[in-house]
């Protein structure tokens, strides 16, 4: 897109709501489910444009957004499908808004083309996936965690994204704020990997005052039109952004491009661009990693889990400790990038890792990769439709401790 406009100053100097606007923050104590909490978190983070196509078990997120946004100021569009939804939010971001789309597995599959477009155009956006049983339309109303690899690899070409896995309604609020912050910091699509249980589970959610919510604003350029190059990256490998209508000439394309955004289809440009797209995440892996550890130091067995399964696993870990097993629990809050370094450190000391997940064995592959043969890795798969029995995980912990 080529933009002309009459504004003089830099686009950061606008009335745009990219911060924790009091109008969007429902400060107080609530008893709401994860879907509703995720919506409130998005509003608190400054999200003011959502395009979506309702799908169980994610519908409540957009239902609430559609009801709330006229009071806050912003736009919700119910699109004709998920393909349209995922492209509409990219346009919304280049128009200057913080944006989100919300879906479940079947919709996520349709969105994959635009995940790649968001990556190569470095468009900050949040994609919420309330996971249900698959493949295909699978189990609309029942949980799974089987889209983890799709979030990482679903679109073609080489790239890196960020993904988070909340395990409670409170975390749906807290972590989606973080998801928006990371999307702005790194200019990547950030996947918010919920599941049906977390989405439909109701608990107390405390929403802080706007000033207590840490918000990352968009990295607007301070440069004048003419000096600004749309994909010229700083030392942090992240380019500064402008928005449509602010008087800058920009070109934003899915083709391999140079700093000006113009197509440059040669190996040198490809190497420069793709290397940067990948490295802006890889170089920050240690900073991005977010794990919650419980007794992993000195543990013989370490359980690695994420999302709703972490709450089931915690029950199994507790039961194993009562039986005298030295077992630790490492929960992935950020699932991508994967905390390979930390797992590798532990692999020298723990003799086994137990990995329960509501899929046939996805994140366990990452654990195996990091452990690299230095400990046993035991997968505890589950096809989805409900959560594990804590006893199933306990049995595998006891086997691992032998």
């Amino acid at each position: 897109m080529t933009l002309r406009g009459g504004r003089d100053g830099p686009p950061g100097d606008t009335e745009e709501t990219l911060h924790a606007d009091p109008k969007g923050v429902l400060t107080g104590i609530h008893f709401i489910d994860g879907d509703h909490a995720a919506c409130e978190g998005a509003l608190a983070a400054g999200c003011r444009f959502v395009a979506g196509y309702p799908i169980t078990p994610s519908t409540e997120v957009v239902e609430r957004f559609a009801a709330r946004i006229p009071l806050v100021g912003g736009v919700f569009i119910q699109m004709e499908d998920e393909i349209a939804s995922s492209i509409a939010i990219l346009g919304g971001a280049w128009a200057g808004k913080k944006v989100m789309t919300v879906t479940s597995g079947p919709g996520l599959s349709l969105m994959m083309e635009h995940v790649g477009l968001a990556v190569i155009t470095e468009t900050p956006c949040v994609i919420v996936d309330v996971q249900r049983g698959g493949p295909s339309t699978g189990l609309p109303t029942l949980p799974a965690q089987a889209d983890m690899m799709q979030a990482k690899w679903g679109s073609h070409g080489d790239y890196e994204i960020i993904a988070l896995s909340p395990n409670s309604p409170q975390e749906c609020f807290d972590l989606i704020v973080k998801a928006f912050n990371l999307a702005e910091t790194y200019r990547v699509p950030v996947f918010f990997m919920m599941d049906e249980v977390v989405g439909h589970m109701t608990e107390r959610v405390v929403i802080p005052a706007p000033e207590a919510i840490e918000i990352v604003e968009r990295k607007w350029t301070q440069k004048k039109p003419g000096e600004y190059r749309v994909f010229q990256a700083d030392d942090d490998m992240v380019p500064e952004m402008v928005k449509a209508g602010d008087g800058y000439r920009i070109h934003v394309t899915g083709l391999t491009h140079d700093d000006r955004g113009y197509p440059a289809m040669n190996p040198q440009a490809q190497d420069k661009l793709v290397t940067r797209l990948v490295n802006k995440i890889r170089a920050n892996r240690d900073k991005l990693v977010d794990v919650r550890e419980d007794g992993v130091e000195g543990a013989d067995v370490v359980v690695v889990s994420f999302g709703i399964t972490s709450r089931v696993a915690a029950a199994a870990v507790e039961a194993a400790r009562h039986k005298g097993v030295k077992v630790g629990h490492l929960r992935l809050v950020i699932t991508w990038p994967f905390p390979a370094k930390r797992i590798k450190e532990l692999a020298g000391r723990a003799k086994a890792f137990v990995v329960p997940e509501l899929n046939m064995g996805q994140m366990v592959l990452e654990v195996e990769r990091a452990v690299a043969g230095k400990a046993a890795v035991i997968s505890v798969p589950h096809a989805g439709g409900t959560v594990h029995e804590p006893e199933t995980i306990l049995t595998r912990i006891m086997e691992a401790a032998q």
């Binding site: 008893f31 489910d33 589970m201 109701t202 608990e203 709703i308 709450r311 915690a314 029950a315």
Partner: protein, 185 residues
């Protein structure tokens, strides 16, 4: 950890989920405890089997599902047939006694308390508030949520303009429960 598990069962449209919601809200917001509500329902808007699972504890709740509830609240015969065998032995059954006939197949030691909630709701003017009568009955018999907390939760959960009716329904159920309890002891 002291945890109480509650299941509410009935038909879609009876207000089963709202009943669970009010119990959870009363415990977690107004009584300062922790509560987790899980709901399950069929694709139909009305008439399908519907249930809510609520865990209430002093500590944060991990595993969210209720398998063998300490308290079962049932508003339909189907829900009774389906869920009564899962009651923890020695648990409490709260049932709508003009819709449900209790048989002798309950787990050992279960204490059953019946209430004509639908009729009481009709006497208050609207059959619709039967779920709130049941909620009051629950608070009165079990004491798992305080009267004040439950009242606050009812007030903040029902549609605006219906607070008075719902609070009357709640008190009706609560008092019925207290009287039944006094008679039983």
């Amino acid at each position: 950890m002291d945890k109480s598990e509650i299941r509410v069962g009935g038909l879609g449209g009876q207000g089963v989920i709202l009943c669970g919601m009010i119990i959870g809200k009363a415990a977690s917001i107004y009584d300062g405890k922790h509560a987790t509500l899980i709901q399950s329902f069929g694709p139909e808007a009305r008439g399908s089997a519907c249930s809510a699972q609520v865990s209430v504890a002093d500590e944060p709740i991990g595993y969210p599902y209720v398998k063998n509830p300490d308290v079962l609240i049932v508003m339909s015969p189907d829900a009774y047939t389906q869920f009564a065998p899962q009651l923890r032995p020695g648990g409490v059954l709260l049932y709508e006694n003009e819709l449900i006939a209790v048989d002798d197949k309950l787990p050992a030691g279960v204490k059953a308390f019946g209430i004509p909630a639908t009729r009481l709701a009709e006497e208050l003017g609207r059959r619709l508030v039967l779920n709130i009568v049941m909620t009051g009955f629950f608070a009165g018999v079990t004491g798992l949520v305080s009267f004040e907390a439950a009242e606050n939760a009812v007030k903040s959960s029902v549609p605006r303009g219906t607070e008075d009716l719902n609070l009357r329904a709640f008190r009706k159920g609560y008092e019925y429960g207290r009287e039944l309890l006094a008679k039983a002891s």
